[in-house]
């Protein structure tokens, strides 16, 4: 099955990439855009759904500083 994992910086930890993007937007004419955060997307085919959570915990995310969200695509 195909799965999609979204990895986000944990709330409360400064995300300078998100801040940089947010600050660049007004100069491009986009006002009122707030709370921007930059994360990572990993897409993969797995044999068993049960593999996904341990895979995320061990490798795809650092649970100390990142949250992750698993979505089964097909």
């Amino acid at each position: 099955m195909r799965a999609r994992v979204l990895i986000r910086p944990k709330a409360g930890i400064l995300d300078p990439q998100g801040v940089a993007v947010e600050r660049a937007l007004p100069a491009l004419g986009f006002d009122g855009v707030e709370n921007v955060h930059v994360g990572r997307l990993v897409e993969l085919d797995v044999a068993e759904e049960g593999q996904l959570q341990p895979l995320c915990e061990k490798l795809l995310a650092n649970p100390l500083v990142e949250d992750y969200e698993i979505e089964i695509v097909s």
Binding site: I13, L14, P16, A20, L59, N62, L64
Partner: protein, 225 residues
């Protein structure tokens, strides 16, 4: 005594680490696929971009065969020094508390920094000069040290904060100006700046990094007595 210096695809500072270690003892490179630590008395996990920093810096290197042996070596009390990418690998491997995050200034910054020795009694700082800062180069884009509130309080209380950026030197935004930490047992230490680039006046302008390798030699020889 003998140092073992790990080498991953993408490591770039292993040779300077090898040369710095050789000022103090013998040293050999250990290829990341090799489980054999070749009788090393102390291990150095060097700086660079192992696996291109893909996914997260140090996230993949942590699972290498050599690191499996290093983790066992560390759990048995063996001395392990992680420099820059090595620090990242040791945090990912949970041999050290906390994590490294992108610099708040979002720039790869390469500059000399002054470091305060916050704990001069560790196996990595016992030979460092008292009463003055160490001048050591830092070069990284992903070096902001982060630990949760409880972890931070615990490591401060336990004297696990080994090195701090002197006032004005903390360009990456590390919490509590932390530049280097050790584990609870005191045998594993990681730091973002590069002591191996500060061992020769000709090339580094400062030899303040040498005391870290010297401290490790003393710790190993003291333990052997």
């Amino acid at each position: 005594m003998k140092f073992g210096v790990l080498q991953f695809p993408g490591s770039c500072d292993e040779v300077d680490a090898l040369e710095a270690a050789r000022l103090v003892g013998d040293a050999e490179l250990i290829w990341h696929r090799d489980r054999d630590l070749q009788g090393a008395d102390a291990i150095i996990v060097p700086g660079g971009f192992s696996y291109g920093d893909y996914l997260r810096a140090g996230a993949i290197a942590r699972f290498s065969e050599a690191m499996e042996s290093v983790i066992a070596f560390a759990r048995d009390g063996g001395p392990v020094l992680g420099i820059c990418n090595g620090f990242q690998v040791l945090c990912e491997a949970h041999l050290l508390p906390g994590a490294l995050l992108p610099n708040i200034n979002l720039r790869f910054t390469s500059r000399q920094v002054r470091l305060e020795v916050s704990n001069a009694e560790t196996a990595f700082t016992s030979a460092c000069p008292a009463g003055r800062t160490l001048s050591i180069p830092a070069k990284h884009s992903w070096g902001r040290y982060h630990a949760g509130e409880q972890t931070l309080a615990a490591i401060e209380d336990a004297g696990q904060v080994v090195l701090r950026y002197a006032p004005g030197e903390n360009f990456n935004g590390s919490v509590a100006d932390i530049a280097g930490v050790c584990n609870e047992a005191g045998n594993v230490m990681g730091l973002m700046p590069h002591p191996e680039h500060a061992v020769s006046e000709l090339t580094g302008g400062s030899t303040d990094g040498l005391c870290i390798f010297e401290s490790m030699r003393l710790a190993v020889q003291g333990a052997a007595v």
